[in-house]
Amino acid sequence: MKQSSIIDIISPIMVGPSSSHTAGAVRLGLLAKNIYNAVPKKVTFKLYNSYAQTGKGHGTDKGLLAGVLGLGVDDVRIRNIFESDIAKSIEYEFQYFEDFNRHPNAVDFIFEGERNLKISGNSVGAGEIEITKINDFSVNLTGKYNTLLLVYKDVPNMISRVTNSIHVNIASFHCDRSAKGQDASMCITVDGEINQKVIDFLSLIDDVYMISYIKKLES
């Protein structure tokens, strides 16, 4: 049994009305922002199923935008985010879909700017979230841990080269690839912090196409 804490029961302090549809939306936005790790020109939000249907009444759209703009789940500015000055810094658009192959509370973030990135995630209940896809790679990010994400060419010894370098305890490890010898992804959640020098060093490896250090959520 995973150890639980009383703090999980008497928190989070959040802007209402729904932990899954409001706080979860903010947290999805925050984690997507941490993954993109730059200021986007435009963000398109694709909301699915329950998120699409009851999202407006729950402020899901406001929560997603607020998260992408860096506001925490307890920030009272979320209520009037569309009218606020911080929301004027980027372009944004909401689209609504029904797709029962997707989770009831699913969302895609389409980031456009210096680079383009599509990030997909779900709000899985009680404010807990998961990012399941970045572009076409399946990942499993919950925002609870600092995470190292690599996209690289599927070649032998890549895992050992990475794990030998990071010098921190690994909490979870997830690999995926499009096909043998093609693009692959590695998603490592860790306790503590990975040194920036390590990340710079790993980014020099020939077969690494992209490396991203995603900070855990504070909110």
């Binding site: 009383i6 703090i7 008497i10 302090i13 802007v15 209402g16 329950s50 009851t54 406001k62």
Partner: protein, 292 residues
């Protein structure tokens, strides 16, 4: 180091063996678990308590409606009535019911609340704790102790049942909130561990089977009014337990029954708005109006 505190029986054994209160055992356990100090744990708990009181204060002065326009002005209505006519149950009842409506309405208008255990059930614990503490002049330290006990009760239940309407119905949200409040209130009024656990069991038993069938899929109908109802429900359980009335089914077995009932409950009655109140003629008309 306490190895595990995953059932109420384990909790009771540790408390009795060491002659400690629930909150004492819990704060030591949590500090060890998080590799921090008891003071640090109490500081985190205090943040939640302070936020609960702020939500009550803000909610009492607002009449702003929710985004849907269906709810938001009932706290004002209740306060106005108590200004002209006293509740037959007295001032504590008035405080609990108005504080509950204040908090839950603050939630639906996107104000700041504490999910305890969830946003839809956010008003039950604060209204009971703060309402009673104010009327009985209970110190802030005692209120923190009560909130620690709230967390302990919820944590142990959540080991067996996910506290989410979509998983186990409203019995696992407002039901558990009422049970947590009943236990904490019993502690605040000087009850021993047996009385505390009896209060939890009595409250929970009486709410088994409570479904989650929100109208239009929103945390409004019936959630808003359910909060003051189940706050008062917690007081009833606590009064019975303090009188020495005992549950015939031990609390851990009640939690098993809660989990089983949650599994057997139709998914149509678990936050999917496919049955119950959500598909009544009036609810469907409201939905058409709202989403057209």
């Amino acid at each position: 180091m306490v190895k595990s505190l995953n059932t109420f029986k384990e909790l009771k054994d540790v408390c009795e063996k060491n002659n400690l209160k629930i909150w004492q055992v819990t704060q030591d356990y949590e500090a060890e678990l998080a590799e921090t100090s008891v003071d640090e744990i109490r500081t985190i708990v205090k943040k939640s308590l302070v936020a609960m009181k702020e939500a009550i204060k803000t909610g009492l002065t607002s009449k702003e409606m929710s985004i849907s326009g269906m709810c938001g002005d009932d706290c004002d209505r209740l306060q106005k009535r108590f200004l002209v006519e006293d509740s037959i149950f007295g001032r504590t009842f008035e405080k609990i019911t108005t504080y509950a409506l204040a908090t839950v309405e603050e939630n639906l208008r996107m104000g700041k609340i504490v999910a305890c255990p969830t946003a839809g059930s956010c008003a039950i614990v604060p209204s009971v704790l703060v309402g009673v503490a104010e009327n009985l002049n209970i110190s802030e330290e005692e209120q923190l102790n009560a909130l620690i006990t709230v967390g302990t009760i919820g944590r142990i239940i959540s080991n067996k049942v996910a506290l989410a309407g979509a998983v186990a119905g409203c019995q696992a949200e407002c039901g558990v909130a009422s049970a947590m409040s009943a236990g904490a209130l019993t502690q605040m009024r000087g009850g021993d561990i047996n009385q505390i656990l009896n209060a939890v069991a009595l409250a929970l038993k009486n709410l088994l089977g409570l479904t989650c069938d929100p109208v239009c899929g929103l945390v409004e109908i019936p959630c808003v009014k359910r909060n003051p109802f189940l706050a008062i429900h917690a007081v009833t359980a606590s009064e019975l337990a303090l009188a020495g009335i005992e549950t015939k089914i031990p609390i851990d077995e009640v939690v098993d029954a809660l989990a089983q009932t949650g599994q057997l409950m139709s998914p149509m009655l678990k936050e999917s708005s496919q049955a119950g109140l959500a598909t009544t003629k009036t609810a469907l008309a409201l939905k058409d109006k709202l989403f057209k």
